[in-house]
């Protein structure tokens, strides 16, 4: 099988990601797709930038796949994440999980996105109309202002 956990600066294909996990013994595939949302708590996002610690991030995605196989037994997982500049509605992440029965596919896919937000070294920077900011909270609810762009803060 080709590499099932990868980062890329090219547009992501859901069909391609799902092909990694399609197999005769699995009747159910769940996919989670994260897209760039225009409004977050009333603030308008213009674009996003994703940065990663690439070799570690790919390892951690693979680790999530192994955790899922340990928890759900017969499960195949593929995860790809986009890097670089993204526009509104672009796909940032695709997770695909195949299992023999659908309940496990839903649960495992949910598990994967929660774990990505915990352990995979990928960061996004939001560009708003009035500024930009590295987002640092795993739950996507609290901005993490360390990396604000104010020139007076730069070394």
């Amino acid at each position: 099988m080709t590499r099932a956990f990868w980062l890329t600066d090219q547009p992501l294909s859901i069909d391609e990601t799902v092909r990694h996990v399609t197999r005769p013994e699995a009747g159910a595939v769940n996919t989670f797709i994260g897209t760039v949302r225009e409004f977050t708590e009333g603030k308008r996002t213009l674009q996003l930038e994703y940065q990663a610690y690439i070799p570690m991030a790919e390892k951690k995605l693979q680790q999530i796949g192994e955790e899922i196989q340990a928890r759900y037994g017969n499960a195949e997982v593929a995860i790809c994440h986009r890097l670089g500049r993204l526009q509104i509605s672009d796909i940032a992440v695709v997770i695909a999980v195949s299992t023999p029965h659908r309940n496990d596919a839903f649960e495992a896919s949910r598990y994967a996105i929660e774990r990505i937000k915990e352990i995979v070294p990928i960061w996004k920077k939001e560009y708003w109309e009035g500024g930009e900011e590295w987002i640092g909270d795993q739950l996507e609810t609290q901005p993490y202002p360390s990396g604000g762009p104010g020139k007076e803060d730069m070394v």
């Binding site: 994260g34 994703y50 940065q51 990663a52 610690y53 070799p55 570690m56 991030a57 390892k59 994440h81 940032a92 992440v93 996105i113 990505i116 937000k117 915990e118 352990i119 995979v120 070294p121 990928i122 960061w123 996004k124 920077k125 590295w134 987002i135 640092g136 909270d137 795993q138 996507e140 993490y144 360390s146 990396g147 604000g148 762009p149 803060d153 730069m154 070394v155």
Partner: protein, 77 residues
């Protein structure tokens, strides 16, 4: 020498992606103190640490040729 990697806000604040420091035999906790006070990285305490691409604790001791990475709270997905 040890390679110290920085990402996201830490990288922008430092103005560099990496530093080369001689840190063999010293701990991550000591490295945090140095980075906080000598490099003005006040928010480094919010970051996790990885040594050679695996998460490590503040008590870990850096070995020759280790790559240390400071991992700010992640926001992928």
């Amino acid at each position: 020498m040890s390679k110290i990697l920085f990402f996201a806000g830490l990288q922008e604040r430092l103005g560099a992606e990496a530093l080369e420091l001689q840190w063999k035999g010293k701990t991550i906790a000591e490295l945090r103190q140095t980075l906080k006070h000598e490099y003005s990285l006040e928010t480094i305490d919010a970051a996790m640490v990885a040594i050679n691409e695996e998460f490590a604790s503040d008590t870990a001791v850096v070995q020759e040729d280790d790559t240390v990475a400071f991992i700010p709270p992640v926001s992928g997905g």
